[in-house]
Amino acid sequence: MNAPSPNAARPLLEVRGLRTVFHSLAGAYAAVDGVDLSIAPGEVVGLVGESGSGKSVTGFSLMRLVDPPGEIVAGEVLFEGRDLLSLPESAMRAIRGDRIAMIFQDPLMTLNPVLTIGEQMIEAVTEHHGVGERAARTRAIEALGQVGIASAAQRLRQYPHEFSGGMRQRVAIATAMLNQPDLIIADEPTTALDVTIQGQILHEMQKLCEASGTALLWITHDLGVVAELADRICVMYSGRIVETGTADDVLDAPRHPYTAGLLGSVPSVNAPGSRLHQIDGTAPPLSARPTGCPFRTRCGNVLPVCAEIDPPLAGPVPGRGWRCHNPMPERDAA
């Protein structure tokens, strides 16, 4: 059921059977339900899905930042071969922000309103490396320059409310780059921004990661963005990866009916800002997931067997797979 890693080299991050549940009065429900993921050094992986499919919870689980009532109950997150889920908290803290950085979904809420931008960037360096505050400040100025923020030295003395949404998101990106991490988890870092700025930031980020060899897990519900950016794509539905493959395979020859539905009306994969096609119906609540295939309540290809058996992830080659009893007809990737 686990597709072996598609990467010849040892993957940077290898996630196996990750399961994160939320406890509620009515019992626990899984927001992430057996997710497998693999990211090679320097690779850009897009994690795509509708709202509520479990993308952010997946990202937080990789960072081990799931707070109660959430709990990671199963799986492995192998980072360079070490299982992050079994590390002591102090070792995990040392990895956060240094080797794996994260950019949050909402740029307005993530910066502390009463601390200067400078303090919030500098601490990201000094908490990991025994450098003085001046060296850290220099590094912060350099990073702000890289994301196109002018007069960075003055900007460091300002507070978050003096920055626009786009500027704050650039600050978050610059902060993520400070320690030249191996992996950045970017949770929809551009959705709150207008289309032009989205495109710019996307482009800058891609360049920066390429230059520093940083791998990127790009979480989004914007297929246009992913098409432009990603080497590989994982499509998520109801807490599971329902289809995975290279960007070309998934976008040009989707096999899972859900992916095909998402692609249904993307006008041009080159236009960032285009949203997912609305698939009829809504995802069932996680607490009342149907038996068998979770997509069967909305699927056009549904068969009787879909209500009985939850299809496993399967595919022709390692790294390419889908979870479906009755997939879309095979097409050639353009």
Binding site: R93, R96, D106, T110, L111, E123, H161, T175
Partner: protein, 325 residues
């Protein structure tokens, strides 16, 4: 900034005027001081002289105008009883009260803030619940009763600290203070605790609710995602955010503590302004009562201004120019 301060100073003058009007007429209504000041065997003529000398022969509104006229020259009147300027009497007593109030605030913050943060960081724990339950006693029991219990337990029963007076004082920059002598400390500590308890509870509960809220904010999670250590998250990210309400409350409480210290000073026979006020009210020493209220109001207004300035420093989003009062 300057504009803001200027506007606040002008507002303060009007507040002081309004307060003076109310107190002046209120004190007039309490009773006639002449009956208390002259002995029954004074002759009617002597009595007349005295009334004229104190200006009590004029109608009340004329008396008020005279008072305002003197006030404009910085004169708040002369004590009927002691025959010295009221301001002088009060300022003599001010250090004792300030000492008590400041120490009680220091106690309230240095104990209330950390305890509140501990409770707020882990609200579900037994420690947190114990702290929060304990804090209920701080503000639900009357100050008078708390004072009596402190005296009973620590002064009478355990005999750890004296129950009355100010103890040895030394002169600091020409002002007599107790907190620099061991004996002064032992006299200071019980009344300071008595005065501190309600505010300790208040600061504690504010810190606890502020911390409980702040620790769930995205900026805390983001700081964790940057690998910031827990200690730093608590000290910088959380403390910095809850300081705004705490400082506001301390400022406001500073003014009311000066007023509340009246009770504590009476219970502990602490020779401060509050005790002077009570004595003066009994003796119908109008100028002292009026001067006390004016000075207390002045302190209150000034501290509020300082709090607003501190507020703007602590919360960068606050712009003074736009805030009205």
């Amino acid at each position: 900034m300057t504009l803001f301060i200027l506007r606040r100073v002008i507002q303060s003058v009007f507040v002081l005027l309004a307060v003076s009007l109310v107190v002046f007429f209120a004190v007039y209504a309490i009773g006639d001081p002449v009956e208390l000041l002259v002995s029954p065997d004074t002759s009617a003529a002597e009595r007349e002289v005295m009334i004229r000398r104190l200006g009590l022969d004029l109608p009340i509104w004329r008396q008020y105008l005279v008072f305002l006229g003197n006030l404009a020259q910085g004169d708040l009147g002369t004590s009927f009883v002691h025959g010295v300027p009221a301001v002088e009497l009060i300022l003599q007593r001010l250090p004792a009260t300030l000492e008590l109030v400041v120490l009680s605030l220091v106690i309230a913050v240095s104990i209330g803030l950390p305890l509140g943060m501990i409770a707020g960081l882990a609200p579900e724990t037994r420690t947190a619940r114990t702290i929060m339950t304990g804090s209920i006693f701080g503000y639900s029991l009357p100050a008078f009763w708390q004072g009596m219990m402190l005296i009973f337990v620590f002064a009478v029963f355990l005999n750890w600290a004296p129950a009355a007076g100010r103890g040895d004082t030394v002169s600091l920059l020409g002002v007599e203070v107790s907190f620099l002598t061991a004996d002064g400390w032992s006299h200071l500590i019980l009344p300071a605790i008595n005065l501190a308890l309600p505010n300790l509870a208040l600061v504690l509960r504010l810190a606890a609710s502020g911390t409980a809220e702040a620790r769930l904010q995205d900026y805390v999670k983001y700081a964790r995602a940057k690998g910031v250590r827990r200690g730093r998250i608590v000290r910088r990210h959380i403390l910095r955010n809850i300081l705004v309400p705490v400082v506001t409350v301390i400022g406001v409480e500073f003014g009311s503590l000066i007023a509340y210290s009246t009770i504590t000073e009476t219970v502990f026979a602490w020779p401060g302004m509050g005790k002077l006020l009570i004595d003066s009210v009994y003796q119908l020493d109008r100028p002292v009562v009026v001067a006390y209220v004016m000075i207390a109001t002045f302190i209150f207004v000034t501290v509020n201004l300082l709090v607003d300035l501190a507020y703007a420093m602590l919360d960068p989003r606050v712009e003074l120019e736009k805030g009205a009062s």
